[in-house]
């Protein structure tokens, strides 16, 4: 790395980045600039108390109810508690929880950081997170796509990461175009924020391209089905391996300042002035390297040392249970979570190569999406050459999908039960990969917690 000063770019960017660097440099935890009104202080105390009571009563993490209490008592609490200390917001359809965790871990090089540890990413979750921990700590927050405009305006972050947009739950129609439009409006006058945006996702580019300060990152896009059409004129976008553009109106991929390259199972981030940073993440897969690349560039925009960021990000081994290795029944499994077709397409590539057998768990509760027709959008063909255990409430839908994909499979209601007829060799595996939809993932996580509690 010959040149470690990426701020020698455009002059506007230089001024902005230097100012941010000063601010973050001043605050190593001792400068408490946060002065809360008595009303907000009281609301925060009561909200946290409510959260902890709810948790003790076994009703989940209590983030939602706690946040509601805070915002009911002090409607402006988020703006007040966020004042001048939100380093970054992170939003995307996929990867926002992982990106947030990677970024929060990297930003700790400048002092204490608060961030969600439960994935509660709507208004109430943000309120509780800001109310908890050191009131002078920097905040790095994950935000749900739909709630982003309101939380952005209230928190005035120094950096915002926009990763990707794709269909999430099919019963919410028109979501991608609608969210891109709301993000575009949100960014129109965002003069105090640097947008770190994925140049490879046309919907993200469409939302961010008129923002006052944007740093483009070529982080890749695996899933193109939800950005087939130009959001300006409705023409079909043209794509090749490295770029995309509209043949009709000229809307096209911007030239990225940073580029992620995937070499030998890990990411390498190339920046201006021949800068090059290895990203030896513990989190698997190219899509996590993309998350890491976005986080790394955000730390540059915050005036932090990117090499130190990369070192710190490598220490993150699991994110809210994702990729955690846990014991369920007699099996030791690695938990993989995907919530939508784009996420599933990425997970299929993270699993060990054939002939290693794997477990796939499909539910269709409200949080999973009631309609599992998205199974037909996932390239399960890539699992050929092994036996897949199909389980979950919708295991029979999965079995039919696997039949058509020509993937050998067995349908098992409870593969963790003693005596379950698992595929040959599965019991002997040190770790079995188990990919699951949202509610199935949480069920496995809590069963493994209970099992751990019984053992201790």
């Amino acid at each position: 790395m010959a040149d470690t000063d990426p701020t020698r770019e455009a002059s506007a960017g230089l001024r902005r980045t230097d100012r941010v660097r000063c601010r973050i440099g001043q605050r190593t935890g001792k400068v408490a600039v946060v002065t809360l009104s008595a009303r907000t202080r009281a609301a925060a105390r009561l909200g946290l108390l409510t959260s902890s009571l709810s948790r003790k009563m076994g009703r989940g993490e209590g983030m939602v109810i706690g946040g509601r209490v805070i915002l009911r008592l002090a409607p402006d609490a988020i703006a007040e508690m966020a004042h001048d200390r939100v380093a970054a917001l992170v939003s995307a359809t996929n990867g926002k929880t992982s990106t947030t965790r990677l970024l929060a871990t990297a930003v700790e090089q400048a002092g204490p950081v608060i961030s969600q540890n439960t994935g509660a990413n709507m208004t109430s979750g943000v309120a509780v997170t800001l109310a908890s921990g050191d009131p002078a700590a920097q905040a790095v927050l994950e935000v749900d796509e739909a709630y982003l405009p309101a939380i952005f305006r209230a928190t005035k972050p120094r950096v915002i990461i926009l990763g990707n947009l794709s269909r999430d739950q099919l019963d919410r129609m028109n979501e991608v175009a609608m969210i891109a439009r709301r993000w575009r409006d949100m960014l129109a006058d965002a003069t105090d924020t640097t947008v770190v945006a994925n140049a490879d996702d046309p919907s993200i580019v469409w939302a961010a391209r008129h923002a006052p300060h944007v740093t483009w990152v070529a982080a890749g896009q695996v899933w193109t089905a939800d950005s087939a059409v130009c959001l300006d004129c409705g023409s079909l976008l043209q794509r090749d391996d490295s770029t995309w553009g509209c043949p009709n109106c000229g809307f096209a991929r911007p030239t990225p300042t940073w580029t992620l390259e995937w070499v030998d199972d890990h990411g390498v981030v190339h920046g201006p002035h021949d800068q090059r940073f290895d990203l030896p993440l513990s989190l698997p897969g190219r899509f996590n390297a993309a998350n890491g690349a976005m986080a790394l560039v955000a730390t540059v925009e915050l005036g932090l040392d990117p090499a130190e960021s990369a070192r710190r990000m490598a220490t993150v081994e699991s994110v809210s249970g994702r990729y955690a290795v846990v014991k369920v029944g007699e099996l030791t499994i690695r938990l993989l979570l995907a919530k939508n077709p784009a996420g599933w397409s990425e997970l299929v590539d993270v699993m060990p190569p054939a002939p290693t057998p794997v477990i796939v768990t499909i539910n269709s509760n409200a949080a999973d999406g009631r309609d599992p027709s998205w199974l037909w959008d996932v390239p399960f063909e890539r699992l050929r050459g092994r036996v897949v255990v199909a389980t979950g409430d919708r295991r029979r839908d999965l079995a039919v999908r696997l039949l058509h994909a020509e993937v050998d499979h067995v349908v098992i209601e409870d593969p963790y039960a003693p005596g379950a007829e698992l595929p040959d060799g599965m019991r002997e595996l040190a770790v079995v990969d188990c990919a699951a939809t949202y509610t199935a993932f949480h069920h496995l996580r809590t069963s493994s917690d209970r099992q751990a509690a019984r053992r201790s």
């Binding site: 019963d171 129609m173 028109n174 059409v229 409705g234 309609d371 027709s373 199974l375 039919v400 039949l403």
Partner: protein
């Protein structure tokens, strides 16, 4: 034996795993010893007129209008249907085969006039499992998922595909519409994977002879589970 299946505008009309219907056709054809060549046609490409089978999927309002305009300008799909080619059209694809359908602002937009149907808006969006008893020659209850806001009214030259037992379908107790070798339906899921008899009917029309039904355990189990869930 080879059979050409045209997937019409999959990037515009592919919201609900619609690619699965093409996969199911390929899969069922193989069971019957028929190889399928699939041609994906995008807007801007000419739709081939001489294929045996055409498949259209679902899509959002703006994509549906764009697809209808492009297909009307192209003209080949209508000529192929009139010549007797088999056509399966799902949801938005179903609506645009008709005389008119509502666009994003609920304005009546001209369709292709292949099916004698007219679509306007349901009072409330239909989202959920759909089960319907089919007309001859189909005998197995149709099962799938529906997610649409269209109320579809059949004219004298179209017959209903089925009678609704659970769900909304066309909105008047009937589900889908058919004329000659053209089938339109609100069932996705995708419908040909969940209703192999429907897939075989289309394949049989395409090759010009009836196909014997071949049962697959996974599919039978899924059908039983779904029908039990919605019909009790």
């Amino acid at each position: 034996m080879n059979l050409t299946v045209v997937s019409v505008y999959p990037t515009l009309l592919g919201t609900y795993g619609d690619g699965g219907n093409v996969m199911a056709l390929r899969h069922r054809a193989r069971l019957h010893g028929i190889e399928v060549d699939v041609i994906n046609i995008e807007p801007g490409d000419a739709v081939p007129e001489s294929a045996e089978l055409y498949v259209l999927g679902g899509g959002e309002d703006s994509a549906q209008t764009a697809a209808a305009n492009a297909l009307r300008a192209d003209g080949s799909l209508k000529r192929a249907a009139e010549r007797g080619a088999a056509v399966l059209a799902v949801c938005a694809g179903y609506q645009l085969l008709g005389e008119y359908f509502p666009d994003a602002n609920s304005a009546a937009t001209p369709g292709l006039g292949i099916l004698d149907i007219r679509t306007d808006r349901l009072p409330k969006r239909a989202v959920g499992e759909l089960a319907a008893d089919p007309k001859e020659p189909l005998t197995q209850t149709l099962t799938g998922y529906e997610n649409h806001a269209g109320a579809t009214h059949l004219g004298p030259n179209a017959s209903a595909l089925a009678t609704v037992r659970a769900g909304i379908g066309n909105g008047d107790g009937s589900e889908g519409a058919t004329t000659a070798h053209v089938i339109g339906t609100y069932l996705h899921g995708p419908c040909l994977a969940r209703n192999p008899q429907l897939a075989d009917l289309l394949l049989g029309w395409a090759i010009g002879r009836d196909l014997p039904f071949i049962e697959e355990a996974e599919v039978t189990q899924l059908r039983e589970e779904r029908l039990r869930t919605v019909l009790g």
